[in-house]
């Protein structure tokens, strides 16, 4: 079997590229030059008689399996799975989280089956025929909507991330945990959500002048409830019924959930059954004892809804190692709960020098933005970092800056710069830098 019948991309142009910063970072244009070189390597040289038989592989010489009602990943890609944490063990098996394996995914869409989960009382299996959405409280006309009726409404689609307020909590611990990138940062996922703008339904119920907040509530075993400003409900909140083109998964709130672009994930009430318009917040458990930000002086910030600007290098990362010195495409994700990503910088020398990464279009507000930068690793120890800035000019903080603000025990809203230390063995370690 000749290697030259399977031509590999060549990146001669990259090796000659100008450095963009220290530690082997190359300019963004190096990627384009590399792409041109791919065609140049495609030369077939096998001319021997019946050479095609020598080149045939088993899956070419027998019929493949037939059709399936719902496609499954390759048996060779089975390891692409969520990592599960049960917070209270077997006594409450449905209280915990599963983490999206960010280090094993590319692009910006999270497959529905790999979307992170945070459940407080397990996954509700709701019969849509016995479920409806009601809107009441400070409205002119309290209304109820069956799923069938809601499905007839004009719908909008948006690419949006949902991030748990506790995402990356492991990096708030005193010692940097040695787990995969996904196990640290994977309480975030990005989907195309399709549904009915909540403002449209509130137009129909009418909104009383005294209304300032809403309470949204799910029909799960936690009967999860959260308060949120009416302004958000009228601005861009969505009653989502579809995720990445298919009906919501039960883990994402089937038959419907609230999606609040950029706000902490816990507020996007799954299995949504009720919306009540009120004068003020109800101070539910999950906006007092949980999902509040305890500061070093003992006071707690409440109702800190938008998720901060943040980024992480997903490849390479712990869980996605290097195979020896040479060319790599550094790739990662950036997002902001407030706006579009404006710029992502990458460092390969622990933050001494930075280069601006290329952003994959389209760059959408409150969605995943994929960034990348070519890198030639010389085999020496290195520290990779990324730092995002959104269109408002907010810049992702350094870790010590974040800890100064929040202290050592706050676990929510962690968005500091992540540093990955590259060892000479090509493995990556989580380090606080």
């Amino acid at each position: 079997m000749n290697n030259d019948v399977l031509p590999l991309p060549r990146f001669e142009a990259v090796s000659a590229a100008t450095p963009a910063a220290g530690g082997g970072l190359l300019t963004r244009r190096a990627l384009l030059k590399g792409a041109v070189a791919i065609g140049a390597g495609s030369v077939l040289s096998a001319h021997a008689a019946d050479a095609h038989l020598a080149g045939a592989l088993p899956w070419q010489q027998a019929p493949g399996r037939p059709f399936s009602g719902y496609g499954q990943p390759s048996i060779f890609a089975k390891a692409t799975e969520r990592s599960i944490v049960q917070l209270y063990g077997p006594s409450a098996p449905g209280n915990g989280a599963s983490f999206t394996p960010l280090h094993l995914l590319r692009g910006t869409i999270t497959p529905a089956g790999l979307h992170f989960e945070r459940h407080h009382h397990g996954v509700a299996e709701i019969d849509p025929a016995r479920h409806q959405l009601v809107i009441h409280g400070l409205v002119a006309r309290p209304l109820k909507f069956t799923i069938e009726r809601l499905m007839r409404y004009p719908m909008v689609s948006r690419m949006l991330f949902i991030e748990c307020s506790g995402n990356s909590f492991r990096n708030t611990l005193p010692e940097a945990p040695q787990v995969t990138c996904g196990e640290i940062h994977g309480l975030i996922s990005c989907s195309e959500w399709t549904g009915v703008p909540l403002s449209m339904l509130l137009d129909e119920t009418g909104v009383a002048a005294a209304a300032n907040w809403i309470v949204a509530e799910g029909a799960d075993a936690a009967t999860m409830a959260r308060s949120m400003p009416l302004a958000k409900a009228l601005d861009d909140a969505m009653i989502a019924l579809w995720q990445n083109g298919e009906p919501l998964r039960p883990e994402q709130g089937y038959p419907m959930r609230l999606v609040l672009p950029g706000f902490e994930g816990n507020m996007g009430i799954k299995w949504l059954r009720r919306i009540k318009l009120t004068t003020g917040p109800m101070h539910a458990r999950d906006e007092t004892s949980h999902y509040t930000d305890l500061l070093p002086d003992g006071k707690a910030l409440q109702f800190t809804f938008p998720m901060g600007v943040k980024s992480v290098i997903t490849q390479p990362s712990p869980g996605w190692g290097l195979q020896g010195p040479g060319y790599y495409d550094i790739s990662g994700l950036a997002w902001s709960g407030a706006d579009r990503i404006d710029q992502v910088e990458v460092s390969a020398d622990g933050g001494r020098t930075w280069a601006v990464a290329a952003l994959q279009e389209p760059v959408l507000s409150r969605s995943f933005t994929r960034f990348r930068l070519p890198w030639r690793w010389d085999g020496a120890p290195a520290v990779l970092m990324s730092r995002a800035q959104d269109r408002r000019g907010e810049v992702q903080p350094a870790r010590d800056e974040w800890v100064r603000r929040y202290g050592a025990t706050q676990r929510y809203h962690y968005n500091a710069v992540q540093a990955w230390q590259v060892g000479t063995d090509g493995k990556l370690r989580n380090v606080y830098a």
Partner: protein
Amino acid sequence: MSTRRRRVLVIALAALLAPAANAGPDLGRPLSDAEIAVIDIDIAPDGDGLPKGKGTVADGIDIYMEKCAACHGARGEGATAPALAGGLGSLDTKAPVKTVGSFWPHATTLFDYIRRAMPYDRPMTLTNDETYALTAYVLWLNDIVGRKEVLNAQSLPKVRMPNRDGFVNGWDAESK
């Protein structure tokens, strides 16, 4: 004007009078007060939403031991589930302990949460009296109410939690 031309005019006028682009098809059906009564379970800090009924610490002990103690500990010290008592004065230290007594700003939240989500293995099965009694017991574990206290819709909102003033509204601060 021909019928046909008149029809065209009517359609054109209808288009002019059509609601804004955001207007929906109005497919919701009226929701009655009776329907709201069985589904609106929110309790506000001022007591709005609290039902009739009552409970005392003594009423709560047996229910707590049967339905709560296995996970939260007999004295609310925590076991597989979080502690419900203790931690007073710890919030500004390096090891804050956030419990009902040390952290929760409103007693009404306790009633609301117990009734909607507890006990973990059989949520939404407690009566209002049982919920008042468990609320009383957990507050008693934290020395917030006395053993003889009767909790009901009038007395519960008056219970002052130790960390009542410990929260800063980040949304209002941001919006100002």
